[in-house]
């Protein structure tokens, strides 16, 4: 093994990008300009040094408790979410388009939600099929006609973007329910600063450290009209939830209490938390609990994660729940196909970011096409997430495909299909060698009295060679994402306001 200059000979045996767009190398195997500084730094480090840094990084995650628990027969062990030491870099111009596109999209989706839970004009105009929206699993009839501050239903959004073979960023999914991963974005940044301090300093990377206080400001803006200094809390399902680390992390950095359902008491449509000095009024709940579980009197009866009567307090306008219940109807995988139309309808603008071409199996003609092309498509269940309930056609066996076809025919409206897109690849350290792995991009967008796109993202990595599935539940990892300020700009330019 060559112990020096592991990247000295790009596109040699050490690094072979394949057909996908590679984040670091262009088609001629030259390093893209915005990766030059990192590449030259990496090439001065030997394989041993890189392995050491990777190990230090993993140790630090373990120590901080950025882990999930694997329960075994006799003992349980703590494992970290795999994290890669090389940052993924996005130049300023590309980010400007992403930022504008995401703002536009969230603005349109919130207008759509306000309409759906209001007069339903878009349905009357026949732009989106009525049954598709009102029959979506995430539609909440209970939300009909309720007042929502700033008409901001989705306050924290984590969209999934991918870069296709042509190098263009497209939106794969909008997550408007309880998107997670922002703590990994921040932890990865901490780690990257320690791993490549010099490169970080000279590259002009935009800061993401203000996410927690921007989140707090967003949440407070939701109650600003009726409470001068609102009490914000973070509602978690509890310590056994796989995202518990993130809930505690955000609560700590916002200085907001981390509450569980059992800490809350609803009396006379007011929400309180049990404190050491009695009951204290709660005004804004940043809930990390799914719609179904926030109030067993209104939603699922078997749930003990929320607080009884919470929804009535919400309906009475005495507490804000963020994101609003029912916001998920706008990130439904079938509604997704209509988002470009939704943008045109409400904003009279062309979408800045494209969708991935999507076939709705509920349409007879499209179902026919999907069934004929199962080997080339990715099929997803409308209600599922996290990489479950999907078929990656080209990677499936003939048997798996014919089994899935049966499910499809039995319940076509439950499925959509998309062409298999070769997600772009980025260099990752895998077993001591630098190899290309497919990545996506999850930026985080906040929406209260205004929309703020955090200038950074969680880059998720499919750690298995050739795999296109980046979900952490399916063996995915993550890495830091550097959004550059651009040439001749100071590091602070364009950052969040002071």
């Amino acid at each position: 093994m060559n112990d020096r200059d592991p990247l000295d000979r790009p596109l040699s045996a050490a690094y072979r990008p394949g057909v996908a767009y590679d984040e670091m190398y262009d088609k001629d195997a030259s390093v893209r300009a915005h990766y030059a500084a990192l590449q030259s730094r990496i090439s001065t480090l030997g394989a041993g040094e890189l392995a050491d840094r990777q190990k230090t990084l993993e140790q630090s995650f373990l120590l901080q408790g950025i882990t999930f628990t694997v329960y075994g027969a006799e003992t349980s062990t703590e494992q970290i979410i795999p994290t890669d030491l090389f940052p993924r870099i996005i130049p300023a111009a590309e980010w400007a388009k992403i930022e504008a596109g995401l703002s536009q999209r969230l603005q349109a989706l919130n207008l759509f939600l306000a309409d759906i839970y209001g007069d339903q004009i878009i349905l009357k105009d026949g732009v989106v099929p009525r049954d598709l929206v009102l029959g979506a699993p995430a539609y909440r009839r209970e939300m009909q006609g309720l007042y929502v501050p700033h008409k901001a239903y989705a306050n924290v959004c984590g969209s999934d973007l991918i870069r296709n073979e042509a190098g263009e960023f497209v939106v794969l999914e909008d997550n408007l329910r309880v998107p997670s991963g922002v703590s990994y974005m921040l932890a990865n940044r901490d780690a990257a600063k320690r791993t490549f301090p010099g490169t970080y300093r000279t590259s002009g990377v935009r800061s993401i450290e203000r996410y927690p206080d921007m989140l707090l400001a967003t949440l407070k803006s939701l109650a600003a009209e009726w409470r001068p200094n609102p009490q914000v809390v973070v509602l978690t399902p509890g310590v056994y939830n796989s995202a518990y680390y993130e809930h505690a992390y955000l609560a700590r950095l916002m200085g907001a209490p981390l509450v569980e359902g059992r800490d809350l008491v609803v009396h006379d449509n007011l929400v309180y938390m049990r404190t050491t000095v009695g009951l204290k009024r709660v005004d804004v709940i940043y809930r990390r609990v799914d719609d179904d579980y926030i109030d067993h009197l209104t939603f699922r009866r078997d749930s003990a994660l929320g607080a009884a009567g919470l929804f009535n307090a919400y309906r009475a306008g005495n507490v804000v729940i963020a994101n609003a219940p029912g916001a998920g109807v706008a990130d439904d995988k079938a509604v997704y196909a209509y988002v470009p139309e939704i943008i045109r309808y409400y904003l009279d603008q062309e979408p800045i970011l494209s969708n991935v071409e999507t076939y709705l199996c509920r349409e007879q003609k499209q179902l026919g096409y999907v069934l004929d092309n199962l080997d080339r498509l990715v099929i997803k269940a409308v209600g599922a997430s996290g990489g479950y309930g999907m078929l990656v056609g080209p990677h499936a066996s003939a048997q798996e495909r014919s089994d899935f076809a049966q499910q499809l025919k039995a319940d076509p409206s439950n499925y959509i299909a998309q062409p298999t897109i070769q997600l772009s690849t980025a260099p990752c350290l895998v077993d001591g060698a630098i190899e290309p792995r497919h990545v996506d991009l999850r930026p985080f967008i906040l929406c209260g009295d205004k929309i703020v796109v955090t200038p950074g993202a969680l880059t998720r990595v499919a750690l298995k060679r050739g795999s296109l599935v980046v979900n952490s539940s399916q063996g995915g990892g993550s890495k830091d994402t550097w959004v550059l300020t651009g040439e001749n700009e100071t590091a602070a330019a364009g950052d969040l306001p002071a």
């Binding site: 373990l62 120590l63 901080q64 408790g65 003992t75 703590e78 973070v234 310590v239 518990y244 680390y245 505690a248 992390y249 609560a251 700590r252 907001a256 209490p257 981390l258 509450v259 569980e260 059992r262 800490d263 008491v265 009396h267 006379d268 007011l270 938390m273 049990r274 404190t275 050491t276 000095v277 009695g278 009951l279 204290k280």
Partner: protein
């Protein structure tokens, strides 16, 4: 003002940390003392730990210590106490500093590592010293990085209530009723006892190497400056409860504060001359019972209070 559940977790975190340290130290002294074939210290340690029946089963000191440290089935073992302290710390991760959390997490990872048993087998005493010093580092991080406000006081309450009860039990096992008529009498065992209370060096500075049961009891019960004496512990309990009452609802927290004040003044005015006639056993039992009552009163005042009292009318 803080969540009642959070106060509860911080309190229990303190109790488990103190318990882990105490059991580690007793195991350490027991192991060291067992090297000298004479002396009753190991027996007293076992009695204090409720492990005396193991003697009948013919277990060696090393077997007993291994169980006390690494047995996940034993609710009193160090590994269980550390795991529970960490579980409570995770529950309140937003309330404690990263420095505090990382110290505890480090200890947890060390003691639950698959390698822990091998390390214990190879060099048990060193292993225990590392555990104890990790716990000291944790307490140092608590002291020097956490705000000394309400949450910190609940944590300290847990530590001192647990400590007062553990020292009372240790004294009882050595000289009281639990000694079953054979109190520690030889010099070596009495030194071992002082080590178990982490008190040997501070004791020597006060009384010189003149080690006597009466003086040991006087020191561990009444010394005002030694942080593991029962008087010191109860004074801290009273102090923290008084400060907590100042944070909010004075009426509700009156009960635990009053109980702590009563225990504290009882210890203040008692002395061994007085207890000599009836033995220290009576006083030790009072300490134990009163600590139990304070524990319940804390729950009633801060954690599991009836909601009806607090609902707006």
């Amino acid at each position: 003002m803080m969540l009642a559940r959070v106060a509860d977790s911080l309190y229990w975190m303190g109790r488990y940390i103190e318990r882990a340290e105490h059991v580690s130290r007793l195991s350490d002294v027991m192991l060291t003392a067992s090297l000298d074939a004479t002396g009753d210290a190991p027996r007293a340690a076992r009695t204090a730990l409720g492990a005396s029946e193991d003697i009948d089963e013919g277990k060696t000191a090393v077997d007993v210590a291994l169980g006390l440290i690494l047995d996940r089935e034993d609710p009193g073992s160090v590994i269980v106490s550390v795991a529970r302290a960490r579980e409570n710390a995770r529950q309140v991760r937003d309330q404690i500093t990263s420095e505090t959390w990382e110290r505890l997490n480090l200890l947890f990872l060390r003691i639950t590592s698959p390698d822990a048993k091998r390390q214990f087998d190879q060099r048990a005493v060193t292993f225990l010293h590392e555990v104890i010093s990790d716990l000291h580092l944790f307490k140092g991080a608590v002291d020097s990085t956490m705000s000394h406000g309400e949450g910190w006081r609940f944590l300290m309450l847990g530590i001192y209530l647990e400590r007062a009860q553990l020292i009372a039990r240790l004294l009882d096992a050595s000289f009281g009723e639990a000694a079953q008529g054979s109190p520690l009498s030889d010099h070596l065992s009495q030194m071992g006892l002082l080590r178990m209370a982490c008190a040997l060096e501070p004791y020597l500075r006060v009384y010189t190497a003149d080690i006597q049961p009466r003086l040991i009891q006087e020191f561990l019960l009444f010394n005002e400056d030694f942080p593991r004496s029962i008087r010191f512990s109860t004074a801290r309990i009273e102090e923290h409860l008084r400060a907590l009452a100042g944070h909010g609802n004075v009426q509700a927290s009156g009960a635990p504060e009053r109980l702590a004040g009563r225990l504290s003044s009882r210890l203040h005015f008692a002395d061994l001359e007085e207890t000599a006639t009836s033995g220290a056993g009576g006083l030790l039992a009072t300490v134990s019972q009163d600590c139990g009552r304070i524990h319940e009163a804390i729950y009633g005042a801060f954690v599991a209070y009836p909601l009806e009292q607090h609902l707006p009318t």
